[in-house]
Symmetry: C2
Subunit: 243 residues, 2 copies
């Protein structure tokens, strides 16, 4: 691993400052440099390995925060909220709020790929989380700035239940436990526009009904069905569900 | 949270000793007690919340170990190995090696459910990892004993490639990136028993072929196809794959 170039070092220090971290923080600069280097710049020395570690760091940070902030929350709700917090979309937004593109080294060819922008930002943010974690082997350099983003998003999710992505959470769960995907069936119950019960959805796993729900839109009805399914599966710690 | 009963405290100290940790370790005993309490004992105070944190702790511990042990390994291989390390099956085996059933409090009704044994052990091991992590906010009380199990298993996986679960890794990846499951098609190429090319499998995602492979058994051919697909998807950091 080579020493970080002075110009690059300054750039990285600037980012650290933006994150609200002291310039004397015990940061491993080479790791931070790697975390902000896209594979198109170097096929061998880029953020991919760190992203692999960062995927776990971000889940851990989110879990700790949720447990501390909502000690009485159901585990099912935790999981649903966390799946939103650690999504590419949420992470890319956080990275973007720091003007990430000024720090992330990307070849021009890849930079032109705007469709890949969200995952580039999210992947590299995960890698930075790993670099900061590995610098101290604690979350000391991570939580001071990440917590505030997660807290705000968690509050938004809890006040606006439609943002709680129960479909994603249910899918993750059925995948892990049954290696199968939930299937949704939707019926239009009434054609009255904006009727909160216009659509009825049911969600099935390998033919068995797990839940149902109603909503103003197809998506809302599916989310309601997923919520019922997800919370009931989580209430029973060892559901006697045998698909 | 109540103080831990003296008898229970002794039991937990015994487990700590078995894990090779000093009896003066800064362990939060109430958390460790919770981590070893099944929901059938207490619907409110059990291991479920800790398991939620532990899921991230175990992924982080595995990622750090793999990165340190195999610094030149491809990220695709890391992911494949980690998905085996953090599987219920692997974690339950680790728990079992410490005689976990002597420490895990379970109601008789649930204890009789032998089918649920593997997930009980794995879930509670994850919860213990969380309790130990939360006691110091580092992996200091986790890696000294968990590493040796993971190292041994990782070595076994690497020497016996059939144990590298590329199917699971590919599935996790397509799920995360495309919210879809890979589909396998298998043909019997020859009926010669034990021919290493007896079966040919191809794996598709939403109709597009991702990889193919041959093998002595259906499972081996599918794994070979999954490996080709998984490694090629990972080589291109932003594959121009559009299903």
């Amino acid at each position: 691993m080579t020493l970080t170039h002075p110009h690059r070092q300054k750039q990285l220090q600037k980012l650290l400052q933006k994150l609200g971290l002291s310039e004397n923080s015990p940061v491993q600069w080479q790791l931070l440099d790697l975390a902000l280097t896209h594979p198109t710049i170097s096929p061998a020395a880029n953020y991919e390995q760190l992203e692999f570690v960062g995927d776990a760091v971000v889940r851990l940070a989110a879990a700790e925060l949720l447990l501390e902030t909502y000690p009485d929350c159901q585990v099912g709700e935790f999981a649903a909220i966390r799946s939103v917090l650690v999504s590419d979309r949420a992470l890319a937004k956080i990275a973007d709020s720091y003007g990430w593109d000024r720090y992330l080294l990307v070849a021009n060819s890849a930079a032109a790929d705007t469709a890949g922008l969200e995952s580039r930002l999210a992947d590299s943010l995960e890698a930075v989380l790993a670099a900061l974690y590995l610098s101290t082997h604690t979350l000391e350099l991570v939580r001071p700035w990440l917590d505030s983003h997660f807290k705000q998003l968690a509050t938004e999710i809890r006040t606006d239940p439609a943002r709680q992505n129960y479909k994603a959470a249910l899918q993750e769960w059925t995948q892990a436990h049954y290696k199968a995907l939930p299937v949704y069936r939707v019926k239009e119950t009434t054609q009255v526009h904006d009727d909160a019960q216009r659509f009825t959805a049911e969600v099935l796993l390998e033919g068995r009904r797990l839940g149902q729900g109603k909503g103003r839109s197809i998506k809302a009805a599916q989310q309601a069905a997923a919520q019922e399914a997800f919370l009931s599966l989580h209430q029973a710690s060892h559901p006697d569900f045998e698909p």
